[in-house]
């Protein structure tokens, strides 16, 4: 009997256009959209790394030339320098071939720009940084060893400030958080499957539910079969979404794949049980329930950073309990910790929170759908 119920429930979910779209297609489409959008941002970031600049120096300022050379000439360089004279530099700036002109005459360094923008700001920072360092070096008596140490420590601390620190073996790309929120959203969209499951089990919600209640199938068998089938499709769909992101779009989600799948399975169970709880409320119309579940899933995902990156860190500062109660945030935290931390402490904590949420929601939904008598139909 279980197999009969399970097979047919699975068929109805897979063939339901709405459930198929929201649970499988929508996350894939959104993932593809993220991929395209973030790729474009990355490309513009790559162009951002080299700023064309014209430099006109007097022959004596070798110190400044060395400084500029350090900022150009290799793969990680910031500046693309054209050494020229004042007139040609002005022509290049006029033709927008360069972002600015840096000149140095008699030790005085000046920057000329024709418009404002990020590139121009960076040039200004570079020139200001040089001038400050130059002033420090020239304002102290370098013959005094103690002051020389001070200058060196000052310069070396600047060096520390810009050093690239690798604190993890994971993917530190800031955009990966969006994909975690996307996976969390896909998990919570399993609520649609839970809602339709409740609809088909309860006699007061649908004629199909009523017909099933009148059959000689034991209530528990029916509930278990339907819920199992309602979890199966979203779990498979979410695994498909993760595979699509990782292996087709080549998004580096970080962490071990089986643990990412395990996180999505628990997340999906939470989604289904939320759907069961909302779906079994008698006095709300089906359309309103679907609207409510959409809003809940999207709002929960929004708070985890689906639309505004870093929002969960702001919430952590001001109202951390929201992050602990929001399943989407817990899912993204679990995935993030898998990616970033070398230990599983944080991940296990997240999984325990998700497991507790699942158990509590399962119990609530069981009490809501187990009823056999109805006060009204």
């Amino acid at each position: 009997m279980f197999v009969h119920l399970y097979q047919y429930r699975l068929k109805t979910i897979i063939r339901s256009k709405e459930e198929f779209f929201w649970i499988l297609l929508f996350p894939i489409l959104l993932g593809t959209f993220f991929y395209v959008a973030f790729s474009n941002i990355s490309k513009s970031t790559e162009n951002f790394s080299t700023i064309p600049v014209a430099v006109a120096l007097d022959d004596e300022d070798t110190f400044f030339q060395s400084y500029l050379d350090a900022l150009s000439g290799d793969a990680s360089s910031i500046l693309e320098i054209t050494y020229t004279d004042d007139e040609e530099a002005e022509q290049l700036l006029k033709n927008e071939k360069v972002t600015g002109i840096i000149t140095s005459q008699n030790g005085e360094v000046t920057l000329t720009i024709s418009q404002s923008g990020i590139y121009q700001s960076i040039l200004k920072e570079i020139v200001d940084g040089y001038i400050q360092s130059y002033d420090v070096i020239h304002s102290v008596d370098l013959s005094d060893n103690s002051k020389l140490e001070l200058v060196l420590s000052k310069l070396s601390s600047n060096q520390d400030y810009i050093r690239n620190l690798d604190f993890t073996n994971g993917n530190t790309d800031i955009f990966v958080d969006y994909y975690y929120s996307l996976i969390a959203m896909a998990c919570l969209f399993a609520a649609f499957s839970g809602q339709s499951c409740a609809d088909g089990i309860l006699a007061n919600l649908s004629p199909q539910g009523m017909r099933k209640c009148l059959s000689p199938v034991h209530r528990m068998t029916m509930i278990l079969a339907d819920i199992t089938a309602s979890c199966t499709f979203p779990i498979i769909a979410n695994v498909a979404v993760i595979i699509y992101l990782s292996y087709i779009l080549k998004v580096n989600l970080g962490g071990s794949m089986p643990l990412i799948f395990a996180t999505s399975v628990l997340g999906t169970i939470i989604g289904v049980t939320v759907g069961l709880c909302v779906g079994s409320i008698y006095k709300i119309k089906k359309e309103a329930k679907i609207g409510l579940l959409s809003a809940l899933s999207l709002f929960s995902s929004f708070l985890s950073g689906l639309m505004v990156g870093g929002i969960k860190y702001d919430i952590e500062k001001h109202a951390p309990f929201i992050n602990k109660l929001n399943p989407a945030t817990v899912i993204t935290d679990a995935l993030y910790s898998l990616n970033i931390y070398d230990t599983y402490e944080k991940y296990i904590t997240c999984m325990i929170i998700l497991a507790v949420m699942s158990v509590v929601l399962c119990m609530i939904s069981y009490f809501m759908i187990r009823r056999e008598y109805y006060a009204d139909l």
Binding site: M1, K11, S16, P207, R211, Y373, D376
Partner: protein, 329 residues
């Protein structure tokens, strides 16, 4: 149609000797302040097509839902097939089929799959199940549509699918709650013929409707319900005998002199006359050849008249006389 009438008459005969399939005693069901069923009683015998007739809101569906142990009730006892009906009476449920007012099929499953699904809830053996599904498809004549999805079916075909899903496991007792709502006349006749066929195959049927013609056409006995009460029970002829009216004659007349009207009123067995919108209505209680007597008088008085109708009382007349309101109000 004559075949159906014979069927009805033959079944209404020896009821007392038959076993009770459903016994409802003093059933009370309240929805907060509203009393939906008010000390309702029912005794349905094996082999009957029992009609529950009443206007919308009279308590027909509530009665069925209480009998099926879906609804909690406040008072009373219900026995189905000799046992108390509870939500976990799985053995009883095996013998019960339900055809609901709302079509209860899955849009995502084909006609065949829907019937197979609901059959599978009752029948475990695969070959028996397959045979039963084929029987049900043939019974409702949906063979050509077995691979169709419900959304591709017309209203009539959908109702037939709904019936097939309810009766596929060949139950002894079938509840049919307004199965012909929003169905075209041809499909309605097919459905009614099917119900009679099921009854002939041995099923007891509880049929609710607010279409009195249907109930009159197929039911062996009828319970007339109003405001959650059982007003009366009997076969259609028995119910009609309960009321004063036996015939109503309507005559189109442009005008009628007072003197002639007085003479008409004196015709035997007339107990009431009405002259509204150029139509004279004469109500008879008993008597034979009433129409001939009326026409003879009109001819004698040299009155020119238009169309003439003679109507036998309907269940609506029964309802009207017993409750003071129309069945379709």
């Amino acid at each position: 149609m004559s075949k159906k009438s014979n069927h009805v008459n033959s079944n209404s005969a020896d009821l007392d000797s038959k076993t009770s399939v459903i016994i409802v005693e003093n059933l009370v069901k309240r929805y907060k302040e509203l009393i939906a069923l008010d000390h309702f009683n029912l005794d349905i015998k094996e082999g009957e097509i029992f009609g529950l007739l009443g206007p919308n809101g009279s308590g027909k569906t509530t009665t069925i839902n209480c009998i099926l142990a879906l609804l909690k009730y406040d008072k009373g006892t219900i026995k189905v097939l000799g046992k108390e009906m509870k939500p976990d009476s799985y053995d009883l449920k095996r013998n019960i089929g339900v055809v609901m007012q709302n079509v209860a099929v899955f849009d995502e499953l084909t006609v065949y799959e829907n019937i197979d699904y609901f059959c599978g809830l009752y029948i475990k053996d695969k070959s028996t199940k397959k045979q039963y599904v084929e029987d049900a498809i043939n019974f409702v004549d949906l063979d050509k549509f077995r691979k169709f999805y419900p959304k591709k079916l017309s209203g009539g075909l959908l109702r037939r699918l709904n019936i097939a899903c309810g009766i596929v496991h060949k139950p002894k007792l079938i509840f049919m709650d307004e199965p012909t709502v929003a169905v075209d006349p041809q499909s309605r006749n097919n459905i009614l013929e099917g119900i009679v066929k099921l009854n002939e195959q041995g099923a007891t049927i509880v049929y609710t409707s607010h279409y009195m013609e249907e109930v009159e056409q197929i039911c062996t006995r009828i319970s007339i319900m109003d405001k959650g009460k059982n007003i009366t029970i009997g076969s259609a002829p028995e119910l009609k005998k309960m009321i004063k009216n036996t015939e109503t004659i309507s005559i189109e007349l442009l005008d009628i002199p007072e003197a002639v009207l007085e003479k008409i009123k004196n015709i035997n067995h007339i107990y009431k006359t009405e002259y509204i919108d150029n139509t004279l209505k004469l109500y008879f209680s008993g008597g034979r050849h009433n129409l001939i007597n009326v026409l003879d008088l009109l001819k004698k008085e040299d009155l020119h008249f238009g169309q003439v109708y003679s109507q036998l009382p309907t269940l609506n007349d029964v309802f009207l006389e017993l409750t003071g309101k129309e069945l379709r109000d």
